[in-house]
Symmetry: C2
């Protein structure tokens, strides 16, 4: 009983539930690996398309393979007219993650592979989803602001085309590169809540779209992908570098948390934060609003220091901490920060769905069906006696 | 290591992950309890509305409470015109569970409580979802068949109104009662895959609609809610009572399963199957197609007998086994069997989301974040060395 109590309602922390070949998160070393490669090497030297290929097809593509893969993604860079019509029925104040979660299910209507259960069909559905996430979101950004939907450009890379379809102008190389790197850094992170949701749905033999839609729902939560929104709101509330120290103390006095500092897994700085920080600095300077990066930097420093002083605990920056100011300076609307996360993570989700569906025969995948401990009552005058309506 | 291997990729079987006050499934005794009451007592003596109240508000309602609760459900029995317009953009061949999974997210657009995180707001969202599931599905059935959407009737009970909005005619008392009982029997079943999905999404602090939409996706799988569809397809393939024995042997020869026989939890007949069987018999007789029940009955008998002979294993009927022929005889389209399951189970899902969000302070709910074991490679000439594009 003692032992069992330990694992009740603690979010499965420390419970190893599956083997995976997709990624390795070593929280103590601050090391994140996608299929054998360090995330910082991928961010420095590969493109999002290469990383997506790595995640889905289990290896980095050669030159010709990459060219073909880019062409396939570009060819899938559209959503049906019916879906644009459906977007137009939705109120402009709808939450973008609700738009995306619904939109993924609607894409299923038009996928010719939807009833197929082969590995090849799943691969094709994964590629379509990766290609269409940015298209769907960009279409919504245009529709909700009353602007015409921008047609995709097949000559641009994945990241650049996303920015182009959002804003209607071709981004310069620096911004396109920053988006590409951000997409690489957010693409995969093992059994986090949203990936676990996708795998759980796939374990029932539900299709790829049903699984990925569930992951979008999971990512929308404040404790998960919603955190980068909360970081930006926090920076806006702080407003200036001078106000940082007071803010940290006030929040800790009130028993509240500092968003973007601390992570369930990392016991040192998240390796992704180190790559995002200089990009955030450059972009904030570039738009003439260096304060957002400066506040972040001081908040990191003071947050760590004061937390250590007051609670004796080391806290570390996570991926959401510098992505907030970076996205803001890139002109991404704040309520699109989490959808941008999804545009990246869909590569990891689809890879995990495929692994859940087709893991080697040595491992036996099965419908997720954990146990629970009933601690409720056994009602009635005698155990489980029904009480008729008139006697209640 | 030995111990850990046992729990890898086996769907969390035998892993107790949470405490709950909502339901108790005793698979050995064949006993299912909703908040202290036996499911067979609820099916015999309560209505679906009473059971929904029990699940959400943690007690059976008194007479006045029940009257108020019925009125609230009836008052929420509508979906926005924009959603009907969105349904009209979807192809008539869309999978009904995809319609429902998307539709739940779209309902979020119109809920005034969507940004609220109080228990009261969650209760209200739960009631709205329970009220609107049948409305959304009935609207889709009408739209996809080119018929006008039927306006709800507030004077009918929940089950009767659902049938009325689907078919355009008021059902007689017997059919309405059978639907009511079926809804009671499917309303809750502890931490099955779809409920676990809903709770996992809610654990991120995502909202009620995001969580319930994920559960719909999970229920759509063949190994979960999709099983009742597979049962009916199996009955149609068998075609006559005389063909049952041969069918069972052929399927076992081919290494395939018999749908609706066997369950992850029950080691005896599912108590719900015993209640559904006589309803199936009555309905099949009533429509002049007694063969569907007769095939089911013989299949149950022969399936159990032959399975025992050939494999030495006892198998038992589960909830999907007799619900298939019952729904068929009630005139429900086969691809709506799983959606009808969802119309019922939404009561359980919403109760679980509320429990995940607001479990007592003694239990500390947390973001789901299980561990996994990385068994992939560490690529490159030396561990994790990146290989540039030109050298691949």
């Amino acid at each position: 009983m003692e032992e069992q109590q330990k694992i009740l309602n603690t979010g499965l922390r420390g419970v190893t539930i599956a083997s995976t070949r997709i990624s390795d998160v070593d929280g103590n070393a601050g090391r994140l690996i996608y299929r054998g490669y360090l995330v910082q090497d991928l961010a420095d030297r590969a493109s999002f398309e290469e990383v997506a290929h790595l995640l889905i097809y289990e290896r980095l593509p050669g030159e010709k393979e990459l060219e073909q893969f880019r062409s396939r993604l570009a060819a899938e860079r559209h959503i049906p007219d019916e879906m644009v019509a459906a977007l137009k029925t939705r109120p402009s104040g709808a939450l973008p993650m609700d738009i995306l979660q619904a939109g993924v299910c609607m894409l299923a209507d038009h996928d010719p592979d939807i009833r197929e259960q082969s590995r090849e069909a799943s691969d094709r559905m994964a590629v379509r989803l990766i290609a269409k996430f940015p298209v769907l979101l960009a279409a919504w950004e245009r529709v909700r602001t009353g602007k015409p939907v921008v047609s995709p450009r097949t000559d641009l890379g994945h990241a650049a085309n996303f920015l182009y379809m959002m804003g209607g102008e071709e981004p310069d190389d620096e911004i396109a590169h920053f988006m590409d790197v951000a997409l690489i850094l957010h693409a995969e992170h093992s059994f986090n809540a949203s990936t676990f949701s996708a795998r759980g749905v796939a374990s029932t033999r539900a299709h790829m779209y049903a699984s990925v839609s569930a992951a979008v729902g999971s990512l929308s939560g404040d404790l998960h992908g919603g955190a980068n929104v909360r970081v930006m709101q926090m920076l806006e509330r702080i407003g200036s570098v001078d106000a940082v120290e007071q803010y940290v103390n006030d929040e800790l006095d009130a028993g509240r948390v500092l968003f973007g500092l601390g992570h369930a897994v990392y016991k040192t700085d998240d390796p992704r934060a180190h790559i995002l920080a200089p990009m955030s600095e450059k972009m904030c300077t570039r738009i003439g609003e260096p304060q957002w990066h400066a506040i972040s930097k001081k908040l990191e420093h003071k947050g760590k220091e004061i937390f250590k002083q007051r609670k004796g605990i080391d806290i570390y920056t996570n991926v959401d901490f510098y992505s907030a100011s970076l996205y803001y300076a890139m002109g991404i609307p704040i309520d699109f920060f989490t959808p941008v996360f999804a545009v990246s993570r869909v590569a990891g989700w689809t890879a995990h769905v495929i692994e859940e569906q087709f893991a080697g025969a040595a491992q036996k995948p099965a419908l997720y069906r954990p146990e629970s401990d009933y601690i409720g009552d056994y009602c009635g005058p005698e155990e489980c006696t029904f009480v008729p309506l008139k006697e209640r």
